[in-house]
């Protein structure tokens, strides 16, 4: 494969995605064969652009919150003062992963009501796990000689954390954030079963009215977003890894 081919494909995907959410009408002839009995081929109960924007906003809020909490927790359990919590936090993360998203979503409804909030809670909980796991890996597998040198240079615990440990584990932490964002982008669609405004609304409208065109456009927009964001974050990850002088896989 030529080196420029992936970049070209990516650019093409961005153009298609932007064109679709801003001017879905252009694609009507393509989707029309998927509908029956003259049903509309393009989602007509709201603007795709607004839904895409709301979808991304939900994922962004949840991911930022999850990143802050997960990294703070990982820092806490890797300090001497919090070392007692390390084994337990590992098992809790393992247990947390066994909760299905639908169940978290449904159980959050009585506490916070329908809408965006239960979705944010579910996405936050799901986002925590990969970021925490990666932050933990990053902070516990730092090269011993580097840590020794930092200590020998007379750095305080705080200086070591902010100037050595966090920058060195940044690429791994970013990897966790990337995983978490991709999972959240797909999981956010399930939020529409409890009335959250996301692209899931389009898919569910399609499932309810037996309109395959709706299901396809909702699913494809989310998949395209996920592929692009995954690629973008991978690039940032490689860039930070290179700056940290680490080898890239």
């Amino acid at each position: 494969m030529k080196a420029w081919l992936p970049s070209l494909l990516r650019l093409l995907l961005v153009v298609l995605l932007v064109a679709f959410v801003t001017n879905p009408g252009w694609f009507q002839p393509l989707l029309k064969p998927l509908t029956e009995n003259g049903a509309p081929a393009i989602y007509n109960q709201g603007s795709l652009l607004t839904l895409t924007f709301l979808h991304l906003r939900t994922v962004l809020i949840a991911t930022v919150a999850a990143t802050i909490v997960a990294v703070a927790l990982a820092i806490l359990v890797t300090r001497p003062a919090g070392a007692e919590f390390l084994p337990l936090s590992r098992s809790l993360v393992n247990i947390g992963q066994t909760f299905p998203p639908v169940a978290v979503l449904a159980l959050a409804v009585p506490a916070v009501g329908f809408g965006e909030k239960p979705t944010l809670i579910a996405l936050f909980l799901y986002g925590l796990l990969p970021i925490f796991e990666n932050a933990l890996t990053g902070l516990t597998t730092l090269p011993a000689n580097v840590m020794e040198a930092a200590r020998g240079a007379g750095m305080t615990g705080w200086q070591r954390l902010t100037k050595v440990e966090l920058p060195l584990s940044a690429p791994i932490i970013l990897g966790g954030i990337r995983l978490s964002v991709v999972i959240s982008l797909a999981t956010a669609t399930i939020g529409s079963t409890v009335a959250a405004k996301t692209l899931g609304e389009v898919i569910i409208a399609g499932l309810l009215s037996n309109n395959l065109a709706f299901v396809l456009q909702g699913g494809l927009i989310v998949a395209a977003l996920a592929v692009l964001i995954y690629d973008g974050l991978s690039a940032i990850e490689r860039y930070t890894a290179r700056r940290m002088g680490q080898e890239t896989a």
Binding site: P87, S91, Q97, P100, A106
Partner: protein, 387 residues
């Protein structure tokens, strides 16, 4: 003598104190969908029993708070959990007015927080005990038996979730077996297809990036969309391929759910097979080649056994993920415990949601523990053999 505090114990004691003294222990509802009224520990339990539970909680929290031997902490958490499990049933029958069949009693936040606090203590003790894989499975079996006994004894029958169950006993087991069939069946199909595909990707480097990219992209399609998208092609197959409809292949229902779960399962199986085979030490392969082993002998005699723990890790990811994802199958008529979850959301009957969610979580949890134990057993066996 100086008193030393356990750091985790401070957290546990704080949660337990809040849960027992401030938060409601049970919720009383005049019927299944009206908003509930909170009942504290002392209001929810008969006169003598309420203070007893408070005493157990306080002693348990103190044992957690101070630096105490592991055995004592284990005993405290187990006693507290058993007391909570039995007493919530007593609260159920105590709060239900005599002869009233509409009133619903469900555990409230205080009860769940107490369970959480003492499960945390138990989990901490079990982690620190560093149990062998067999012992962990043993603990799981004992816990499952205890819960089974409580269910059979009818101790919990006055609770709302079991009233929901009593109304749907038949469909509960039917949906349950559908759920398990979906999760395990799609896993089996993914292993049958994924292992050879992984081996092929390992041997033929040109294929590897392509196959893994396609599988990666499938993972990004949201599950509800993938379920929906499979309706059309499977409907077409059912209508045009002779015999397909007789096999149960239809546009809606179990077939698209099965295929979607299968597609999601492929990536972890294939990727872990590739990683596992790539991790086989070169020396082992060279030695096998030097002994005159054929490619096939090398695959089954050397590479495959060495890669097995990594492949099993992929299977564990798939199984836990499938048990969770199978709940979404209910949206396209595929059945499973998700049926109760979505019905419950529709009727705003939270106990019905729990009836679907609790067994799903329990299944996923049990699957994770059992497979983790198996992975550890195969990995240590290998280490002993190579040492």
């Amino acid at each position: 003598m100086t008193i030393r505090f356990d750091k985790l114990g401070v957290v546990i004691a704080a949660i337990a104190a809040y849960a027992a003294l401030v938060a409601p222990f049970a919720t009383f509802r005049a019927n299944r969908i009206v908003p509930g009224e909170a009942r504290s520990v002392l209001e929810a339990l008969p006169t003598a029993v309420g203070p007893l539970l408070l005493a157990i909680v306080i002693v348990g929290a103190l044992i957690a708070l101070l630096k105490t031997p592991l055995v004592l902490r284990l005993a405290a958490s187990v006693v507290a959990l058993i007391a909570l499990a039995i007493l919530i049933g007593i609260a159920g029958s105590f709060l239900t007015p005599a002869g009233n069949t509409f009133a619903r009693i469900s555990p409230a936040s205080g009860f769940w927080l107490l369970i959480f606090a003492f499960t945390l203590l138990l989990a901490d003790v079990l982690t620190r005990l560093n149990l062998s894989p067999w012992a962990r499975v043993g603990v799981l079996v004992v816990a499952a038996l205890a819960i089974g006994l409580l269910l059979i004894s009818g101790q919990w029958n006055s609770l709302s979730i079991l009233k929901e169950y009593a109304n749907r006993a038949d469909s509960f087991w039917a949906e349950g077996s559908k759920h398990v069939t979906l999760a395990l069946g799609s896993l089996a199909a993914a292993v049958i297809v994924g292992l050879p595909l992984g081996i092929l990707c390992h041997r033929v480097e040109k294929l590897r990036a392509g196959v893994l990219n396609v599988l990666n992209i499938i993972q990004t399609i949201p599950s509800i969309a993938l379920f929906g998208l499979l309706i059309a092609p499977l409907g077409w197959v059912a209508a045009h391929v002779p015999g397909a409809a007789a096999l149960g292949i239809r546009g809606i229902g179990t077939a698209p759910a099965f295929v979607a779960l299968f597609l999601y399962s492929l990536l972890p199986v294939v990727a872990n097979t590739v990683v596992g085979l790539a991790g086989v030490p070169r020396a082992a392969n060279d030695a096998a080649r030097g002994m005159g082993m054929t490619d096939r002998q090398r695959l089954f005699g050397v590479e495959f056994p060495l890669a097995f723990p990594v492949i099993l890790t992929g299977i564990r990811i798939v199984l836990v993920q499938n048990i969770g994802l199978a709940t979404i199958a209910a949206l396209i008529g595929g059945g499973g415990f998700g049926v109760f979850v979505f019905q419950g959301v529709g009727q705003t009957a939270m106990d019905l949601v729990l009836l679907g969610a609790v067994p799903t979580v329990a299944l996923a949890f049990a699957a994770a523990i059992i497979l983790d134990a198996v992975i550890e057993m195969t990995a240590t066996k290998r280490r002993v053999e190579t040492a």
